[in-house]
C-alpha cells in the first residue's frame, strides 16, 4: 500500500492498487475506528441520561436527546460496520480482504461483524419491547427480557468496537507507534465503556444501600474481574484495567455532576419526591483500587512469560483474592459514607439519585436487606463472601484465558 493512500483520512488503510503492503505500513488509525468507538461511548452516556430523564421528568418521547444518543450508539457503528463489510467485500483491496474474516461470503474485520450483530439485536428488541409495554405496561425497571436483548445488542456494539480497535493495536508494529498508541487507548476507553454498561445493567443490585449484601458482592466479583483481567492481559500498555476503571468512574461521575446543573420537574404522578433538577446516577464504584492490584498482579506474572493454564489458575486465584479483599474493604466502608446524610451533596450525590417516585424516608440512609429479623435477609456472610471469591476466581481465570485469546486477534 502506498503511504500516500494509507494516510488519506477517508481510506480504509489501503489503496486500490496496493496488493502486498503490510498493515504496519498504515501510519494512522482509520477514522472509522474512532467513529465506532465514539458510537459505543454514546450508549452508556445516553442510557445514564435516559435513566435520569425517567427519574426526573418521567414522561418521554421518541425524540428525547437521551434516546437520540442511544440510537446513535446503535445506528452509527452498525451502519458504519455494515458499510465496512460491503466495502471490503466488493471494493476492498487484497490487503483489506486478507485482514478480514469471511462470513456467508462477505468479508470484514471480526469486530465489525460483532457490531453488526449488536445492531441487529438492538433493532430486534424494538418491536419486542413495544409489544412488551402493550402487554404488561410501560416497564419501570431495567431488567426485562426485551431490555436484556437491547442490552446484549449494546454489549455487542461495544465489544465489536473493542475487537475492532484491538485488531489494530495487535497488528501495529513498532514502525507504526501512532496506530498502536491510538488502538491501545481506544481499547482502554471502550473497555471502560463496557465496564460502565455492566455497572448500569447491575444498578438494581449495586446502589450504595445494597453494598452490604451477598448479591452485590457476588455479581460484582464476577463481572468486574472478568473485564479487568482481559484488559490487563490484552492491552499493550501497562495499567490498562486501572485506566479503564478510571474511564468508567469518569463517565459516571461527570454525568452525575453535570446533570443536576439542569432544572427539571416531574411530569407524571404520583410525585413523592418533588425533584427540581435532573436526577444524577449514584456515585460510581471505586473500581480503580481493586483494578490497580489486578493490573499489578497480571503485569508481574506476564513479565515472567510462559503462560500455562495452571499458571493462569494460580494467577486467577491471587487476582480473585486481591480483588475481593480490596473491593470489599473499599465499598463496605465507602458505601457507609455514601448513604450517610454527610454525602447528600453535589460531589458524592448521596440520596440525590432517588427519583420522583421514591418516597423520602429514613430507608434512604439505611443499608437494605440486611435485617436478620426480616423475611428476606441478604446480608453478606462469610459463606456469601466465599461464593464471591469462588466466582471471582472463575471469572478471572476465564478473563485471563480470553485476554490471551484477544491478544492474538489480528483481523
Amino acid at each position: 500500500m502506498s503511504s500516500e493512500a494509507a494516510s488519506h483520512p477517508l481510506s480504509f488503510g489501503g489503496a486500490a492498487d496496493s496488493k502486498a503492503a503490510s498493515a504496519t505500513a498504515v501510519k494512522r488509525l482509520p477514522w472509522y475506528c474512532f467513529a465506532v468507538a465514539f458510537g459505543a461511548l454514546c450508549i452508556p452516556l445516553g442510557v445514564l441520561w435516559d435513566i435520569s430523564w425517567h427519574s426526573t421528568i418521567g414522561r418521554d418521547t421518541f425524540w428525547t436527546p437521551a434516546h437520540m444518543l442511544i440510537y446513535n450508539g446503535g445506528a452509527l457503528p452498525g451502519l458504519l460496520c455494515g458499510w465496512l463489510v460491503l466495502k471490503t467485500t466488493f471494493w476492498g483491496t487484497v490487503e483489506e480482504k486478507a485482514r478480514s474474516v469471511r462470513i456467508w461470503g462477505f468479508s470484514g474485520p471480526l469486530g465489525a461483524w460483532v457490531v453488526i450483530w449488536g445492531s441487529v439485536a438492538m433493532i430486534t428488541s424494538a418491536p419486542f419491547d413495544d409489544w412488551w409495554h402493550a402487554a404488561y405496561g410501560l416497564d419501570v425497571k431495567i431488567l426485562s427480557p426485551p431490555h436484556t436483548l437491547l442490552a446484549l445488542g449494546m454489549y455487542g456494539v461495544a465489544i465489536g468496537a473493542w475487537l475492532l480497535v484491538l485488531s489494530w493495536q495487535n497488528r501495529a508494529g513498532e514502525d507504526a507507534p501512532a496506530v498502536q498508541r491510538a488502538g491501545t487507548w481506544l481499547f482502554i476507553i471502550t473497555g471502560g465503556v463496557l465496564i460502565t454498561m455492566l455497572n448500569i445493567f447491575m444498578t438494581e443490585f449495586s446502589l450504595p444501600n445494597d453494598q452490604r449484601t451477598n448479591t452485590f458482592y457476588q455479581v460484582s466479583c464476577t463481572a468486574y474481574p472478568f473485564y479487568m483481567t482481559i484488559l490487563a492481559r490484552a492491552s499493550k500498555t501497562r495499567w490498562a484495567a486501572t485506566k479503564a476503571s478510571l474511564v468508567y468512574m469518569a463517565i459516571v461521575a461527570v454525568i452525575a455532576w453535570i446533570l443536576p446543573l439542569f432544572a427539571a420537574q416531574p411530569m407524571l404522578a404520583p410525585i413523592y419526591n418533588p425533584v427540581t433538577r435532573m436526577v444524577p446516577p449514584a456515585f460510581p464504584l471505586l473500581l480503580v483500587f481493586p483494578a490497580l492490584i489486578v493490573d499489578f498482579l497480571v503485569q508481574t506474572s506476564d513479565r515472567k512469560g510462559s503462560r500455562t493454564a495452571l499458571r493462569d489458575a494460580w494467577l486467577a486465584a491471587k487476582v480473585a483474592f486481591a480483588f475481593v479483599a480490596v473491593f470489599l474493604l473499599v465499598q463496605w466502608n465507602f458505601s457507609a459514607l455514601l448513604i450517610s446524610p454527610a454525602a447528600d451533596n453535589w460531589l458524592l450525590i448521596g440520596k440525590n439519585h432517588f427519583g420522583y417516585m421514591a418516597r423520602p424516608g429514613e430507608w434512604q440512609h439505611q443499608f437494605w436487606n440486611i435485617d436478620p429479623n426480616a423475611r428476606f435477609n441478604n446480608a453478606l456472610t462469610p459463606a456469601g463472601a466465599a461464593v464471591a471469591l469462588g466466582l471471582a476466581f472463575v471469572a478471572s481465570w476465564i478473563g485471563l484465558w480470553r485476554g490471551t485469546g484477544m491478544k492474538a486477534v489480528k483481523r
Binding site: M122, D129, Y136, I142, I271, K410, R411
Partner: protein, 490 residues
C-alpha cells in the same frame, strides 16, 4: 427505565394495531370508558376517560363543554393517597379541530389503584375544576400477534446464525496473520467455537423463555385485575329466603391491596347488588345487602321466579377504588310475596309484569339508534296513568338509576345521571382535595331537578355492538318503578 427505542417499532413496521382483549374494566364489567357529567363551577361539562388496559398506560380523555363559555381545559391525574401534592403540572387539553366545545388530552397513569382526573375548565367566569374518579388497573391479556411472532422469529434466527458464524470465524480466522489460510487445527477450533456458541444461544433462548413466563406469571398475580368473585348461599331466616354473599378482598392482585381500604357508602349503601334471571332476562332485583362480618353480607330475597341468576355487586372503598364483583345463584322455588320483608327500604325488583312499584310508566325518549363507541347516552321520561309527566323523587340520592347488561353477559354498567363512575368515589375524592363543603355541594348537584323537558339522561358510551338489556329505576309517589328495554347497538 425506558431505554426502549420502542417507537422504532413504528418505523420497523406499519403493521396493524395490536388486538387487545380487555377482560373487564375498572368499576364495571367489559367497560373501559368512564363517563362523567357534572359542573366545573359554572361550566357544565361531560368527561369521557378511556382507561388504559395496562399499567403504566395512557388514558385518553375527552371533555365536552355542554354550554358556551369554556375557552381552555386542562387535566391532571391525582392518585388517591398523594393527591394534588403528588401531581405534576396539569396538561393542557387540545381543542379538537373544527369543534368549539370539544377538548382532548392524554394522561399517563403510572401506578395501579384509585385515581381521579382533575378536569379544569377556564373561561370568562374563571377557572373551575371537577374530579372524575377512575381506576387504574391492568385488565388486558395480550397474545403475541402472529406477525410479531414472525418478525421476532426471523430476526431471532438471524441473530443465532450470525453469532454462531461469528464465533466460528473468530476461532478459525481472526487470530491468523493477514492472508494466512486456516489450518485444519484452526478449522476444528472454529467448529468447536460454533458449537459452544450454539449451546450458549440454546441455553439463552431456553432461559429467556422461562424468564418471560415468570414475568407473565408475575403480571397475572401482581397486576391483572379481574372482578372479585362473590360466593353465594341461601338460608331460611325468619320465614324468608336470605341470600348470603361472601367476598375475600385479599384475593385481588397484590399491586392493588393498598387500595382495598374499608368500604364507604355509595349513595347511602355499602353494596348495591343487581341480580338478573339469565333465562329470559325477565326478572331482576336491585338490593342492598347489609354487612354481617368483614367478609359477609346478606339480604332477604324478594319474590322472584325460579331460575339461574347472574349477580353484580358494586362497592366503593375509602381510597376511591370502586369495582363490580360478580357471582350467581339459583332460585329453585319462587319466593312467596307474603313472606318477604325487604332488608333495605330502597330494595326494588321486577319479575315479569309484576313489580314492587307501580302507578307510572318509564319510557325511552329521543333516539334509540345506538352506536358503540360514541357518546350517545340514554334518555327516559316518566308518565303517570293520565299520560302526564310524573314528578320524580330522589331515589338513593338521585333521580334515577339504570343498569345496562349485554345479553351475552360480557358488559355490565350501573349508570346515574352523572355517568357510570362511582358517586361515592367522586365525593370521597372531592372531600379529600377540596374539602367537606365542596363534597356536600357535589352531593346536592347529583340530585338536581329535571329540566323543562322532563327528561332524565344517562350519559353512556356502549363499549361494543350487540344486544343489550336496560333497566331504569325511578321513584314517584314514594314508589319505585322499573322500566325494562331491549336495545340493539350497532
Amino acid at each position: 427505565m425506558n431505554i426502549t427505542l420502542h417507537r422504532l417499532a413504528a418505523w420497523f413496521s406499519t403493521i396493524a394495531l395490536v388486538v387487545l382483549s380487555a377482560n373487564s374494566a375498572s368499576a364495571h364489567i367489559g367497560q373501559q370508558n368512564v363517563v362523567f357529567e357534572g359542573a366545573a363551577g359554572p361550566y357544565p361539562i361531560r368527561v369521557i376517560i378511556k382507561a388504559p388496559v395496562v399499567v403504566p398506560g395512557l388514558a385518553e380523555i375527552t371533555v365536552r363543554s355542554l354550554a358556551p363559555g369554556v375557552d381552555a381545559v386542562s387535566v391532571l391525574p391525582l392518585r388517591w393517597d398523594t393527591g394534588r401534592k403528588g401531581s405534576p403540572p396539569p396538561d393542557k387539553a387540545k381543542q379538537v379541530k373544527g369543534e368549539t366545545d370539544l377538548f382532548s388530552a392524554e394522561l399517563w397513569l403510572m401506578t395501579s389503584g384509585a385515581h381521579s382526573v382533575q378536569v379544569t375548565a377556564n373561561g370568562a367566569r374563571g377557572e373551575h375544576s371537577l374530579l372524575v374518579p377512575i381506576n387504574s388497573v391492568a385488565t388486558a391479556r395480550l397474545g403475541l400477534p402472529r406477525w410479531m411472532g414472525g418478525v421476532l422469529a426471523v430476526l431471532g434466527v438471524l441473530l443465532v446464525a450470525l453469532l454462531i458464524s461469528v464465533a466460528n470465524a473468530a476461532a478459525k480466522e481472526s487470530v491468523l496473520e493477514a492472508g494466512e489460510v486456516p489450518s485444519p487445527v484452526h478449522r476444528r477450533r472454529g467448529l468447536a467455537a460454533a458449537c459452544v456458541a450454539a449451546g450458549i444461544m440454546a441455553f439463552g433462548i431456553w432461559g429467556g423463555h422461562r424468564w418471560w413466563k415468570a414475568e407473565e406469571q408475575q403480571y397475572l398475580t401482581r397486576q391483572l385485575f379481574e372482578p372479585f368473585q362473590v360466593a353465594t348461599s341461601m338460608k331460611e331466616k325468619d320465614g324468608q329466603t336470605v341470600l348470603q354473599l361472601s367476598v375475600d378482598f385479599s384475593k385481588g392482585p397484590s399491586s392493588l391491596l393498598r387500595n382495598v381500604t374499608p368500604l364507604i357508602p355509595d349513595h347511602g349503601k355499602l353494596m348495591h347488588v343487581f341480580a338478573v334471571r339469565t333465562n329470559g332476562f325477565d326478572a331482576m332485583a336491585h338490593l342492598h345487602p347489609v354487612r354481617i362480618s368483614q367478609t359477609q353480607f346478606e339480604t332477604a330475597l324478594p319474590p322472584l321466579p325460579a331460575g339461574n341468576y347472574q349477580l353484580f355487586a358494586d362497592v366503593t372503598h375509602e381510597s376511591g377504588f370502586s369495582h363490580t364483583m360478580v357471582g350467581g345463584f339459583v332460585i329453585k322455588e319462587a319466593t312467596k310475596p307474603d313472606a318477604f320483608t325487604p332488608t333495605d327500604d330502597d330494595d326494588a325488583w321486577k319479575a315479569g309484569a309484576s313489580a314492587e312499584g307501580s302507578g307510572f310508566q318509564i319510557t325511552m325518549a329521543g333516539a334509540s339508534n345506538f352506536v358503540s363507541g360514541t357518546d350517545t347516552g340514554i334518555a327516559i321520561q316518566a308518565f303517570g296513568p293520565d299520560g302526564k309527566p310524573k314528578e320524580l323523587e330522589p331515589y338513593l340520592g338521585m333521580l334515577g338509576h339504570a343498569f345496562i347488561m349485554a345479553e351475552d353477559g360480557s358488559v355490565f354498567s350501573h349508570l346515574h345521571p352523572q355517568g357510570n363512575g362511582s358517586m361515592g368515589a367522586a365525593i370521597a375524592f372531592t372531600r379529600r382535595e377540596f374539602g367537606t363543603s365542596a363534597a356536600q355541594k357535589l352531593a346536592e348537584e347529583i340530585c338536581a331537578p329535571l329540566g323543562a323537558d322532563r327528561t332524565l339522561r344517562f350519559p353512556y358510551v356502549f363499549p361494543k355492538a350487540g344486544n343489550y338489556r336496560l333497566w331504569v329505576q325511578a321513584k314517584a309517589d314514594a314508589k319505585v318503578e322499573t322500566g325494562e328495554f331491549r336495545l340493539t347497538v350497532r
